[in-house]
């Protein structure tokens, strides 16, 4: 940990070169470790100390960005000068008005010492416990366990000074029998919150219950999606639809439809970086405080998330969803997505299905097929189960789905009262909080051999 004072003064020293009209600097630093295991043995075990500073210099409406991972005073100044040099040859961005002004940030407890200092040996011992538990049920396991800490700071020439330190930990486990597999995962800022025993047990139980999977034909099925399956659909729906860029470019299923009912009444999705029950974070990469944004409320399209530049284009204020300066052309992106819970539970949902399928999770989803209709395709993985007369019957060979998620979510019959934090590709800066979901109809379009 470098600490707020040292980082701010380091960044300020470069900004003091004052080569543009405005400038900001973003610091991202992390110390992390990750232990991977497969075939019930650790095969990759890594540690990394990494930092990066981005400078963005504005000359009028021209913006230049440069970055470096070297923190000598000379290299920081060199990177700042590169950003200014780029800004000089840039073209004007009509939607750039100003960098954000200073703001007050909520106080958040996002750092746990024990997680930051979790050692390779501690990770190995947790992995060993997972391996041993699976071994008792004649399963092998694969997965990963990561732990670490980070710091994010934003400084700009208008007086923004933001700093937050974080810790994070996550584990995923795939248990494998001779003919089947099962999956479970956990995510928390505090490694002590992860129940490794329960996570391993869930994965192993699913693998055992899915042994000798049967073939079922593709077609339309009533389904129960477990939280990991729901979250992976939401991850893509978010990417193609809830950001300001696809909204303003009219490629999003939200474009031109705000206020319109686009999916089922039971579906409410929002982004809230301030909710401490998930992976909260107080501000974005421009130093704008994160706001709660309603995306879909009771099936009605309500809004999308913005950074400062796309907010100007949209005639609104930034919602605090800017990405790093090198990705600022991508607009805002929701990083703390919540799917509203219901009143049901997984056992209740299963009891209410006469003939259907339970999906543990999906693999390799792609959402570029038809973005205005949110058509996604992907495969089931690690625990597709048949439900017959209100009971889990056994494993099913994996199926491919291709469906409009707005259509499928239009058939929601129930949502669980509890939700789970599911890791997304943006990792320690947020997650997707999803309940289990019971859908009346979900379209499977292909099958595979296992």
């Amino acid at each position: 940990m470098i600490g707020t004072d040292k980082i701010h003064s380091m960044l300020q020293a470069a900004l003091d070169l004052n080569m543009g009209d405005q400038a900001d600097a973003v610091f991202l630093g992390s110390e992390s470790g990750l232990t991977r295991f497969a075939n019930s043995t650790i095969h990759q075990n890594v540690a990394e100390t990494q930092s990066k500073v981005y400078f963005r210099v504005a000359i009028g409406k021209k913006l230049g960005v440069a970055s470096t991972n070297s923190f000598t005073g000379a290299d920081l100044k060199r990177a700042y000068k590169s950003a200014a040099k780029i800004a000089k040859v840039q073209r004007e961005n009509p939607h750039f008005v100003s960098l954000p002004k200073p703001a007050v940030y909520p106080t958040m407890d996002t750092f746990f010492e024990g997680t930051a200092k979790f050692t390779p040996r501690q990770r190995a011992m947790k992995v060993k416990s997972i391996i041993d538990r699976a071994g008792r049920k004649n399963c092998t396991v694969a997965g990963s366990l990561s732990s670490g800490s980070g710091e994010l700071a934003v400084v700009n020439t208008l007086g923004v000074k933001a700093y937050q330190r974080i810790s994070s930990s996550s584990v995923n486990v795939i248990a494998m029998g001779a003919t089947s597999s099962g999956y479970a995962e956990g995510l928390s800022r505090n490694v002590e919150d992860l129940d490794f025993r329960a996570i391993a047990g869930t994965a192993v139980d699913r693998a055992v219950r899915c042994a000798n999977p049967v073939e079922m034909p593709p077609g339309e099925y009533e389904v129960i999606l477990e939280p990991a399956a729901v979250a992976s659909l939401i991850e893509w729906v978010n990417y193609i639809g809830f950001g300001s860029k696809p909204f303003q470019e009219n490629t999003s299923f939200m474009a031109g439809r705000l206020g319109e009912k686009i999916t089922g009444d039971a579906v409410t999705i929002y982004d809230d970086g301030t909710d401490p029950t998930a992976i909260a974070f107080p501000f974005d990469f421009e130093g704008v405080p994160k706001r709660k944004v309603e995306l879909i409320t009771n099936g009605v399209a309500k809004g999308v998330v913005y950074d400062s530049i796309t907010a100007v284009r949209g005639g609104c204020e930034s919602t605090g969803h800017a990405l790093t300066p090198d990705a600022s052309g991508e607009g805002g992106l929701a990083l703390n997505v919540f799917v509203q819970t219901g009143k049901s539970s997984l056992p209740e949902m299963i009891a209410n299905v006469e003939n259907g399928l339970l999906v543990t999770r999906f693999h390799y989803i792609n959402g570029f097929i038809d973005t205005p209709h949110a058509v996604l395709t992907g495969m089931t993985r690690d625990g597709l189960m048949q439900i017959k007369n209100g009971r889990l019957k056994g494993g099913v060979k994996n199926l491919r789905f291709t469906d409009s998620i707005l259509r499928a979510f239009g058939t929601v019959k129930a949502l669980s009262a509890e939700r789970q934090l599911i890791n997304a590709w943006w990792d320690s800066l947020g997650c997707i909080s999803a309940p289990a979901m019971h859908l009346g109809s979900f379209r499977f379009t292909g099958q595979t051999d296992f």
Partner: protein
């Protein structure tokens, strides 16, 4: 720097590591993206650091840092050794490495025009010029054009005596026109989707693409797709263009021949492989005209280099020969399982990442068909062009690809245009239905700059040589 790296290697030896290597990497990147008339990304990045990989107690440890001082190197070496000892807690068998000659050598990409010497204004003028053509008229709402340049300087030293320096230069560019009308969104790209085409080389690669020459056609096709009928579903004869063939090779041959996947060590993220050890030399992967090679020596390929990140020299070898599955991509750790030496495919996407088995240039070798003759011989077939979506199961069997456009072939020419074409299949059935592959005149090595694998996620830049090919009785559409 070299002296510091040598001292670190000596330190690893003194601490009793049975094997150790240190890799210093400095990467310079320039990324430019222009959306309509706005330059929304213009970024320059420099990243440098080192990673130390050690074997101790028969297990691996890896640690890295961006602080390249002698003291930090010693600290990181100790951390890597501690991690290796922790790894050993679950170790069943000690890691054994295949022998490799400890090369002392230098390799550098051949570059005619250094892309970092070309003025930014010249690059911006070209991209803005492309976008001006793409946005002519009102239906193309989004024109995106981009250029990306990377220079990677590496030093690799090992306790076995390897001392290799490499300088790799990679360049790429491309654009996409997105037409929008009445809730319909259609796009066309050139020379390929996903930020275009890439290779090892300099700005001459960009000039060869003749970006301006194709912009008008791309715009017109994107607009025409708005009113084109949906591609009909059902079993069809299809001809796949060479850029989509590249992705088909990538997903259904490149990934499943990675031996680490086959052995289960990538299960936790990307999955395994249907090409299990018992199938080597026995499985008819494709028809007799299908030949696929891994060739890290292919001139200009994005997957070309001098040595991999274990110090193994770049090689060319067969994966599929006359339709039979015959080879894997291997590493020093995995090759001994086959009784072989590594074929040099271990690469990391930076100083802070562990090398993994990665594709190099995985090339579908040219066949004998002449493109125009193939069209003339394929009345009623669908010509599928430029990837839009991709998905495949975790054993690499069931795949589904979406394309930007399809045309029905009539009288040897492109006829009716269709939107939203999708085709799907099972890998060996699909490749066994291949009855024509175009010759070298239609063959191109396509750069794929965004191949993801591993935890933490690593992005590799790989490539695939391919020419258009014909497949019989393939399921088009999703049956709805």
């Amino acid at each position: 720097m070299k002296d510091r790296l040598k001292t670190a290697i000596d330190y690893l030896k003194s601490k009793g590591a049975s094997y150790g290597d240190i890799r210093y990497v400095r990467t310079t990147a320039e990324n430019i993206k222009v959306t309509n008339e706005t330059v929304d990304t213009l970024a320059h990045d420099v990243s440098q650091g080192f990673g130390i990989r050690v074997l101790a107690d028969g297990a691996w440890g890896f640690a890295s840092s961006a602080i390249c001082t002698q003291g930090e190197m010693r600290k990181v070496a100790n951390r890597a050794l501690q991690i290796a000892k922790a790894s050993a807690l679950t170790q069943r068998e000690k890691v054994k490495l295949a022998d490799v000659e400890p090369y002392v050598d230098r390799y550098e990409t051949t570059v005619a025009t250094d892309p970092f010497d070309v003025k930014l204004a010249r690059k911006l003028d070209l991209l803005l010029g492309v976008n001006k053509i793409l946005t002519k008229g009102s239906k193309v709402r989004v024109a995106e054009s981009s250029m990306d340049f990377y220079r990677t300087e590496k030093m690799f030293l090992s306790t076995e005596g390897a001392d290799i320096e490499q300088v790799l230069t990679e360049s790429g560019a491309g654009y996409t026109a997105t037409a929008v009308e009445s809730g319909e969104v259609q796009r066309r790209s050139y020379p390929n989707s996903h930020r275009g085409d890439f290779g090892t080389g300099g700005y001459e690669l960009i000039e060869r693409m003749k970006l301006l020459d194709h912009a008008e056609r791309v715009r017109e096709e994107a607009v025409a797709l708005l009113t084109a009928p949906v591609c009909p579903s059902g079993p069809r004869t299809i001809i796949i263009d060479s850029s989509q063939m590249a992705l088909q090779v990538h997903e259904s041959c490149g990934h499943p021949t990675e031996l680490d996947r086959v052995l289960g060590t990538e299960i936790s993220l990307a999955g395994g492989s249907f090409l299990t050890l018992d199938k080597r030399g026995k499985l008819r992967y494709g028809s007799r005209i299908v030949n696929i090679v891994a060739d890290a020596t292919c001139p200009g390929g994005l997957g070309s280099f001098g040595y991999d990140d274990e110090g193994v020299k770049a090689q060319r070898f067969d994966l599929v020969r006359e339709g039979m599955f015959v080879g894997y991509l291997t590493s020093r750790e995995t090759a001994p399982i086959l009784g072989e030496r590594s074929n040099g495919t271990m690469r990391a996407d930076g100083w802070n990442r562990l090398p993994l088995i990665r594709m190099t240039n995985i090339n579908l070798e040219p066949g004998t068909a002449v493109y125009n003759d193939l069209l003339a011989d394929s009345d009623g077939a669908l010509l599928l062009d430029t990837n839009k979506s991709w998905s495949i199961d975790d054993q690499r069997l069931n795949f589904q690809f979406g394309l930007e456009a399809a045309w029905e072939i009539r009288g040897g020419k492109k006829g009716q245009l269709y939107k939203n074409p999708v085709y799907t299949g099972i890998t060996p059935e699909f490749w066994n239905s291949c009855d024509a592959i175009c010759n070298r005149d239609s063959w191109h090595v396509w750069g794929v700059p965004n191949c993801g694998k591993g935890e933490p996620m690593q992005t590799a830049r790989v490539a695939h040589g391919a020419s258009p090919a014909r497949f019989r009785n393939v399921m088009v559409g999703v049956g709805q």
